[in-house]
Homo-oligomer: 326 residues x 2
């Protein structure tokens, strides 16, 4: 954690109370002039840190845009996810950024946020609407020891982490639509795009891309999304702190990922089933040219959806498009 993030962490832990420059300097083991210079720098980046002659520094407000040090200071000590945070003003797609870092050999856990994406991607090559400053668009690099089939565990776990964080930060009750959509009041607020590079049956790396409609106003949605999509701010009735939500998601992702790596996916899968709106429903799954209809019964140990077909067979579905009939 660099000095800026350390200063933010100390100020945040004071909960709006003030700390003198001398105390801050001694606590962080640097000189007072260094503290003064860094406080000035943080202010330039949009942090509202007033100083009173007797009381010292307080953290009153954070920047409107995402700031890597700010997110780092909210994370605690990540095991993997969030060990390295990078924020971009604009990218084609944060999955592209992470894919490039993966090929350059960067360690797992690095996260790339972008304020806007010019070529945001959804599943199956679809565009993902990602307007500047209104959402959270970010991707995480993982290098799990899993087979390509088992990476469904990652998508399932990421949707659990996403649901937990949204619930905690907004108070809303999101539901998961298998495998990777998050719905609030029946409308989509977030999605996950898991991409992987493999050598036959050995996964090289996985890129987990997450897109969340955080503070998008109703009039901003393009016509084709108006009926099916919503944002957290619309549903909650107020603006959501993106940095707080982003940091919370990274903490939850770090938690579920460490469970998968400890071979404890079963526990995550159970939580998934309680949050999932798909299980128990009649669904139609379209996989390429093929359509399968049946009742969604459960998840299996690899994260596949178990479907009891019209003919009574139990089929495990690992991809495709799911439409819930009732």
């Amino acid at each position: 954690m660099n000095l800026d993030a350390q200063i933010l962490l100390v100020l945040r832990n004071l909960g709006g109370s003030a700390i003198s420059a001398a105390d801050l300097a001694s606590q962080l083991g640097v000189g007072r002039s260094t503290i003064a210079a860094h406080i000035a720098d943080l202010r330039r980046h949009g942090f509202d840190i007033p100083a009173s002659p007797h009381g010292g520094y307080r953290l009153v407000g954070t920047p409107e845009y995402l700031n890597a040090d700010d997110i780092v200071s909210r994370l605690g000590k990540p095991r993997v996810v969030g060990r390295d945070i990078r924020v971009f003003k604009e990218t084609t797609s944060t999955n592209d950024v992470i894919e490039k870092l993966a090929r350059d050999g960067v360690a797992e856990g690095v996260v790339a946020f972008a304020e806007s994406q010019t070529l945001g991607r959804g599943r199956l090559g679809r565009r993902w609407f990602s307007p500047a400053g209104k959402g959270l668009w970010f991707s995480v690099l993982l290098r799990p020891k899993l087979t390509p089939q088992q990476t469904t565990q990652i998508t399932v776990s990421a949707s659990v982490a996403l649901a937990r964080a949204v619930e905690t930060v907004t108070g809303l009750s999101p539901k998961i639509k298998w495998p990777n959509d998050l719905l609030v009041n029946g409308r989509k607020v977030a999605g996950i795009l898991t991409e992987l590079a493999a050598e036959q049956d050995v996964v090289r790396h996985v890129v987990v891309g997450i897109g969340i409609d955080v503070n998008i106003e109703p009039h901003r949605f393009p016509p084709e999304l108006k009926q099916t999509a919503t944002s957290l701010s619309i549903e909650a009735g107020h603006v959501i702190d993106r940095a707080e939500l982003g940091a919370r998601i990274l903490r939850e992702l770090d938690d579920v990922y460490s469970r998968i790596m400890r071979r404890e996916f079963e526990a995550v899968a159970e939580e998934w089933e309680t949050k999932c709106s798909t299980v128990g429903k009649l669904v139609v799954v379209t996989i390429g040219d093929r359509r399968v209809r049946g009742r969604a019964e459960a998840l299996n140990s690899e994260g596949a959806l178990l479907l009891r077909t019209e003919h009574g067979h139990l089929e495990s579905i690992t991809g495709g498009d799911v439409i819930v009939e009732k």
Copy 2:
């Protein structure tokens, strides 16, 4: 096919006989001065095309280094593999070149050859020894409609194509060691590295990398390879025409790939079994930390190796390291 490749095709089809500049010009629908300019250009690239005042042009020799037009002129009309040929003097790895083209949206079938690779890769992150001008190091981009599991079909089929081509061009009798090594007289002459990019269960693209020790002299092999590796020229006792072999492999790859796409993998798998030295043998397979011992019995419909374990179970192996015991 560009004019250079067309000229080479006409000259090659004459089998060393000559054709007048006038006939060549009218056959290709261009002027005599255009022909003269292109012949001069081909000569500069190392093609030996003497002209006699009365007889006309003959093709006597081709360049020592690989030439894209030369390979194109030997291919006929590819369905997919070889529709676009690119030759590089040096790359990190031809798989990297193709991976980049894949992400840029280039159509399937493009092939990248390199005279040398600075970071040639074998399976499981191993280095691949690829000295300049002595081998064939190339990669092919495919975009098959398969699941990640089914891409084993591609590796198996590529090894069949490779074995066929080596047999035809050199007269040697290569054997396949599952899943992707080609052996001559018990020593390795070639390997295949299949890499894939996927979105969960949907393959985006597959990169098939092939490395063949064609004309490597015995003294060039590094000490750690001397006991296990050989080259086609060592085994055949003479230098092999790399362009001829490369073109032949691409034709065979085009054939097996079109079979896979017509869902005729079974026929390719049968041919594989006749060429495979692994089936019927006692083997030890190491997959990560796990070791499985048993008798290799056959291939299944996805290209996995079916192993009858010591405990009598039939296990399907899709990766890992295979050591043949006897």
